[in-house]
Amino acid sequence: MTARLSPWLIAFTTLIYIFLAGPLVIVIGAALSDTTYLTFPPQGLTLHWFVRIFEIGAFRTTIVTSLQIAFLSTALALAIGIPAAYALNRYRIQLPAWLSTLFVLPILVPEIVLGFSLLRSVAAGMNAPIYASLLIGHTLIVLPYCVRVISASLSSFDFSVEEAAISLGSPPAKTFFTIVLPNVRSGVIAAFILAFITSINDVSTSIFLTGPGISTLPIQILAHVEQFFDPVIASVSVLLMFLTVAVMAIVERTLGLTFLAK
């Protein structure tokens, strides 16, 4: 049963959705324009600006760095986040209640403050290489997604299945990988995707953790906009969007997207 919606509400909602989609359509259009300046609607169609991305060394290297950092930080966050989520569910009584709050702190603390603090204490204070500091920063900001999403799928897992396997002689570690992990597979995939997208788009933490030779794609786009205002910015933005679409297609295939609304 759905309640009847007023035509005014439908019209207003349509306008809001046009407002949401419009700017992204404009960026795509501007990326295809055969002009040396940014314009919409595109005048003439060309893919030249996509080729141009890879002719600019700074974009080539930052795309590689962004992908590396996104993969590494996601993998690290999963490697420490999965055991943490497991512990939070399986050993709830042993662990203090504030521990689950601790794991969402990276969302609560303003990202820009985290970035600056890592610069002060880790990159400058401990003289850590900038790449390592950047990796630590990204691992921190994606950790909450890993712990929370996987915790949510573990909360519906029946741990007596695991106990049954162990009591039948299966070693605990093997039981975890053959019984527990396959049951929360969809949670791990969702966490991976959320973490990856968060890392690859991050600005606020990374802005303080880039130095000579090391930068990420969004930071490079910011720097480029300040000097040039050409369609390369639009095409590189579309490239970032395309990555998002590709990742979302994987989510849609494996889980259905509605889980994101919960």
Binding site: M1, T2, A3, L5, S6, L9, I10, F12, T13, I16, F19, L20, A21, P23, L24, I26, L38, T39, F40, P83, A84, Y86, A87, Y91, Q94, L99, L102, F103, L105, P106, V109, P110, I112, V113, L114, F116, S117, L118, R120, S121, I136, G137, T139, L140, L143, N201, V203, S204, I207, P218, V225, A234, S237, T244, V245, V247, M248, L257, L260, A261
Partner: protein, 275 residues
Amino acid sequence: MLKRHAGWILAAPATLLVVLFLVLPVAATIASTFGDPKGVFAPYIAFFNSGFRRTVLWRTLEISLATTAISLVLGFFAAYAVSRAPSRMKSVLIIAAVFPLLTGVVVRSFAWLIILGKNGILNNFLVGIGITDQPFNMLYTQGSVIVAMVYLFTPLMILTLVGVLENIPDDVIQAASSLGARPSAVFRQVIFPLAVPGLIVGAVLVFTGSFTSYATPQLVGGERQMMMGTLMYQRAMVAFDWVGASTVAAIMVVITIAVVLVMTRIARRLNPMAT
């Protein structure tokens, strides 16, 4: 022995990471603002004595409040329509809201440079239809930052509120209307009060997000519309005034955490379903 500590052993790596690289560094940043020989609160007195920095703080509050209010209104109506839409339409609308959310902040802010710029789409359009001969200066104004931020946060608001509004049973709405309440009365007296806790959660997310944002004020606001995030960056990386930057950071942390704590407490108290 091992079994009794199994929970801690498994949680240890993640706990250590957060404590060593988030809790301690952020605490050190805040602590560094209290070490001034001129007095414990000297950096804060300097901050509030500077007319420029007071303006930045005030502007940031204004922009964040305006962004929160506007995206609450847009998000509430859109989310209500989405939550009552037929299920196929609903998933399309949810995906359409998720997609911009997963597109980066830089891309979504940059789009407004193309729209609002001096030779941008909006100015070309206004000149084209003869409303004005000279293009308006729309970028680098408070309005442009608010528009870009509303654009940034409305999808988040919609997704937060769809979940809340979906949980209002259709029965409640039908009961109200079958008892003679007009649609506007149902909206004001039934749906809205039930949605208040969700509205508060959404408002907290949007307020803290806009209060601490960096990329949007940097791109769309520029030097002229400096906000707390861009001020902090400018202090740290341009002026190399790390104590000044830490002071801005500490003020940001205090305001964010205060807003989160106060508002979630109010949300809990106002939840009519809880009693």
